[in-house]
């Protein structure tokens, strides 16, 4: 599975620093954080994928290493999903604000 990084998030106003606030360094942008999260989770998925492939084609004989790679991929995806859920919750909470 190949997850392409979400490129649209960089355009959201979330990413622009507030006026008056000290300029945010490039590494701290929310879009960068998300991108790193996606890349990391994707790398784990790819590693698990390769591990399964090696096991299926007989290049590897350790079932446990494949299963641990799958567990790693699962956990990193779960972490990412939890963060995403929390961010979307926060966004919806803000959108419900009465003006």
């Amino acid at each position: 599975m190949n997850v392409t990084p979400a490129g649209m998030i960089g355009g959201l106003p979330l990413a622009s620093p507030l006026s008056g606030a000290p300029p945010v360094s490039n590494g701290g942008l929310f879009s960068n954080v998300v991108e790193r999260f996606v890349t990391d989770a994707n790398n784990q998925q790819l590693a698990a994928d390769q591990s399964v492939q090696r096991l299926a084609t007989g290049q590897s004989d350790s079932v446990h290493e494949t299963m641990l790679a799958l567990a790693k991929a699962d956990l990193s995806l779960r972490v990412f999903m939890e963060v995403r859920n929390k961010v979307i919750d926060a966004y919806q909470e803000v959108m419900r604000m009465q003006m």
Binding site: R36, A41, Q44, H64, E65, L68, A71, K72, L75, S76
Partner: protein, 148 residues
């Protein structure tokens, strides 16, 4: 970097699982060769044993808040060594490998000992598996913090 750092404990369990599996293979090999009187090196089969050492990786990822890596990297197999204990001799004049006195030198494999080693390796494998599972559980429990 990234998830690799936080999931490093998996690699420790994986090394333990790999080591115990190798031990199981060695035990199985000992049992399979329990009455082998011919080997490429000559003479009967000698019982094999594994030697493990602790693997340290000081250049590994450092935990959050620590300046340097804990260095914990599980276990590593050093070698598979021969058991040099005395080989038992059995009287069997009809055997093609019998010496002039009619004695055959047999492998120094002791089946009850191998069975105990097999159980030990199985249980150690289970223990390593449990450690990995606990780590998964801990992470999943930590994820529930943000669930409302």
């Amino acid at each position: 970097m990234g998830f690799d750092t936080s999931l490093a404990a998996f690699n420790i369990s994986a090394s333990g699982l790999t080591a115990e599996r190798l031990r199981m293979e060695v035990v199985a090999n000992n049992i399979a060769n329990a009455s082998v009187t011919r080997t490429p090196e000559g003479g009967p089969y000698r019982r094999k044993d594994v030697v493990f050492e602790t693997a340290l990786n000081p250049d590994g990822p450092a935990q959050h808040g620590a300046t340097e890596s804990s260095g914990l990297a599980g276990v590593r197999t050093v070698a598979i060594v021969d058991d040099m204990s005395e080989l038992p001799r059995r009287h069997d004049p009809g055997h093609p490998d019998a010496d002039a006195d009619g004695f055959v030198t047999m492998p120094n494999v002791n089946l009850p000992v191998e069975m105990v080693n097999l159980i030990t390796a199985t249980r150690a494998y289970e223990a390593n598996l449990k450690a990995a599972q606990s780590f998964v559980d801990m992470n999943q429990q930590a994820l529930t913090i943000v669930r409302g």
